[in-house]
Symmetry: D2
Subunit: 338 residues, 4 copies
């Protein structure tokens, strides 16, 4: 099979993660070229990963007929426009989440890739996490019967700067969006209604910026199941990422990952490792696996595992969540697009 | 110290639990007499536990000057009236939960015991459970910092008969009432507002009786913390009773109790015990400890650990929860008494 | 069924444990009388447990026709003679371990009870422990296939006084004797050969008294399986009592018991409870269950679950272990009686 | 720093593991060339890993001045001779374990590298395992006090063909050799004496080939600590690789690694993952880390973390273990070289 030539647009933290995965761990694909609005670091990266081409801008990359697919890893506000341009140029698109903060632009991206007949995958990497993917498998195998309730614990080790909280669109569009997608993935259903019980307990500056940092989000799924997500912008003990799925025949529960499986027992207590602290460490395996599946979808003309519609669904839930906080009532997701 | 002579009103399941605890495990107290509206089984019980007196009815018990305190273990609809009569007769009162399904009668009980100057303890046994009491201790010791979020998982192994669901006042007054009290106990605060996301997934007959069997209950506490309870009337793997408390410095999490700590590892997997299935097995230690503390409160004139006000608080939250389901909106607890 | 009237000879720590179990938790039996070479504490105990009779000495107890069975809880050096006298008096005998430090006297006890036609049970309480008994059940059910290897971890929280180490017969007769019995119980076999790798690392005074405090004991069972016990007289983290059984189809592993199932997660780590520290706390359930089974064996004329032969077997292994340390070589158990 | 050019001699299973690690995960080094006595697969490997040179034999590789270091991944009987030739050619040597089945040839390798002034590292990868290395760190930090006892559980998922058991030198030189090295690593000491309790329970053909498949190996360390290893050639539940270290202040215990941290709870039980089954999956991280440290030792002229002396020590213990089985007695390691 022909090698897939990938271009990466945006060489920040997540762009580099994909460079590493593709170069070292994704057979059948290579990073042919990169570009970034701050190009200074590009030559060193090209050397490190054996990347042949550095483009002056993403349009130059899209004009290169050797490029088969692009990864859109630029700043969120540029995701949609670049994805649309890429689709028009006939390139397959992997777009980091969120596709955009407005449903309209996400719809435009979906329309563009459909029009162009290219693949679109959205960067909900957590679906590929070994723990969460295994829960989904157990559900698919019927091990817990009919799904009734989903519980997601998602707590960051420490809060972002308050100013970031503001520009990111707030906790629901920035952080919980992953959990909204996970909820739909585990439930096997879209969300019908959202109610948010949220407050600012971690950092008053986040509250002053109009955002919350501690939240319990109650969900009704269209398939009749219900769900809950709890978020905090701070967990003193590390990155707390757990999922529980309950059904008519049982439950599947994912605990946190830890650096080792060593227990220390002394007069002070019985101590095990804290959860992995940094998201790249915690989720590296999932970033690699999402890239493998993107390459597989393109090369073998399969549906991508996380679609534009998934990206849209998560954003609609996030906007409904914001509205729920503002209005102090449960909000139907359908109200957002309506 | 003078031995405390206790009379037990109602010799059903919970009455017998207390007979056993007091007789075998509570120094300084004895069951002096018993009574029940169905008296046939009383002689055998009196023999088994060495109980001297069988009364024809509870009024005869209250008239006995040798009785110091009574345990009200009769049917729920009689709790309040008997408690009031007992207080008027100068007896200390231990009343099973719920004190009554209406706040008015609970208030009447509280007024009666205050007027009579006797002790009142309400049967929220779970506060005395080794796991949950330890979480409260860790919070009191400052180990998790300022409390921010409480999560309670409470799932019965199997649903009650649908007709019971109806007469019991519904899931919130019958089952969740324990979790409401636990939420307040762990949060160290009253509840300000409740929102319920509930449905009927376990047994359609429960739904036809106007009740729900699967619920996610979102709570705002008066102290600023938030909380969530998830309930189901069925857990195929046993009685799922867990509590998590998150704070600024960490979290304390109680896992389920199991019959043994044995792990079986075979080609089929690595298997540990299911949670204890039956509530008397799971909570026997807490039933004994609540009785010890009741005896201690009476003998040493201390406040009881679970008061009439605690009983009232839980009922108000339960009624707010019912209203939230009916009206599909968050409900202030203050609306109920208003 | 007629109530079993039990006399307890020796009202020290273990005698009191049995008083409590029988009085509160063993239906069908009662402690009718007690005796002790230091009689001062007896009246208070008789009051506490409602015991009718205090005898001036054990011979007076044996002369009482109302006594059906005796528990021999006196000092080790008197176990055998009292048990023989009890058998001759027609009383069923429960004898604490070790029956004696010499095989000859154990054989004499076995002969005496056989001659008298009474029951003899030896106090190997750990066989009744919920964890270890469950491993045995799993083996009996064929869950781990043919047993191949047994591993026992047995560590006391702190060492006894060095002078005790001397009079007790040394670590193998005093402490490991429980583990030798457990090894036979789990393996379902007698021991053929013992090799001990031991040293004194915890307390030099124990070494000066001619004993060891840290040991790895390698066992060959007659059924072809092999086993290992590791002992220490000190475990800083509590009482470490674990068993592992490996077989052709898998393994069953018992972890330690803990006071609660609560986990505390903070920046300092993820901390769970230390193992229960005190042997009476750790093994209370097993002491009660061994007494229930003794009463059941007597009342229903069943074989006792831990026989005089079991008591003999453990002592022979212990003596072989002592010989192995002295001679630095593997020792056949058959060498001891030969 | 100059890139380290590595040649790999032997492109079997372990040779490929190192190719992958060095190519993808070891900065500062590259696989410059490969060779194998069965050369057919070499071109494809060279393409897959971007390897420039294929040599007709290892002597050709040693003659290439561009090669800085070689990995000796050929069959065991050739390890020593190739390592000596490599040293004489001035190449740094990483030699897979065991260096040889005879101490004499290991000593010759040690002498050759000393003479040549090159580095020698022996492939005891497990020292680099995240769990076991962490136990060693905890010991180094004084967390468990003075080390007293080491316990190693090491069970393969399934036995090798019986004919392999014969040519490999038997279980102690083939399988336990890793555990002997681990015991020394954890104890921080050489072994003084070995006693083996072993039998053939897994596969009679192994016994017919003169080997054992189930063993308990008791160790006395020179520093006064004691230890025990239990081995089996079959564990139905997967690859069982655990280490426990006990000391005066506590214990550090490594549990098995598993594919996920998901628990499935149903009416059938509470089930978690089996241990990782395949050694390459279980130990991949350690293979990569040993290679990083080899490259670091060469480039920065540091001592290698696993030396020729470590390789010799493990072989001497293995030979003492064989002698112990044969003679049924504890054997001093010093007897072997004597």
């Amino acid at each position: 099979m022909k090698q897939l030539n990938i271009g990466i647009i945006g060489a920040g933290r997540i762009g580099k993660v994909h460079m590493k995965s593709i170069t070292y761990s994704v057979p059948g694909a290579k990073v042919l070229g990169i570009t970034d609005v701050f190009p200074d670091a590009l030559p060193a990266l090209a050397t490190e990963y054996g990347i042949e081409k550095i483009y002056p801008d993403y349009k130059a990359m899209l004009a290169d007929p050797e490029i088969d697919a692009v990864l859109v890893c630029s700043s969120t506000d540029t995701h949609a426009d670049i994805s649309i341009d890429a689709a028009k140029a006939g390139k397959h698109v992997f777009c980091e989440k969120p596709v955009d903060l407005t449903p309209e632009k996400v719809l435009a991206v979906i329309a563009a890739v459909k029009e162009a007949g290219v693949k679109l995958q959205v960067g909900f990497n957590r679906r590929f996490d070994h723990n969460f993917a295994h829960i989904r498998e157990l559900i698919n195998e019927g091990k817990i019967g009919k799904l009734e309730l989903v519980k997601i614990t998602s707590r960051d080790p420490e809060p972002p700067p308050a100013q970031y909280a503001a520009v990111s669109g707030g906790i629901f569009l920035d952080m919980t969006i992953h959990d909204f997608d996970m909820a739909c993935f585990i439930a096997g259903s879209e969300v019908d209604e959202v109610y948010v019980n949220a407050t600012c307990l971690v950092d008053p500056a986040i509250g002053e910026a109009g955002d919350v940092d501690t939240a319990i989000i109650s969900l009704k799924f269209k398939n009749g199941a219900i769900g809950v997500i709890d978020n905090s912008r701070r967990a003193a003990y590390g990155y707390d990422q757990r999922v529980e799925a309950f059904g008519s025949l049982g439950a599947a529960v994912a605990a946190n990952d830890t650096p080792t499986n060593v227990t220390l027992m002394t007069a002070d207590g019985v101590v095990t490792d804290k959860p992995l602290y940094f998201f790249l460490e915690r989720y590296m395996q999932s970033f690699t696996d999402e890239m493998r599946q993107f390459v597989d979808a393109v090369q073998n003309d399969k549906p991508t595992p996380t679609t534009g519609e998934d990206g849209l669904a998560a954003i609609l839930i996030a906007l409904a969540a914001k509205k729920s906080v503002k209005e102090g009532r449960p909000v139907k997701v359908a109200e957002i697009l309506g």
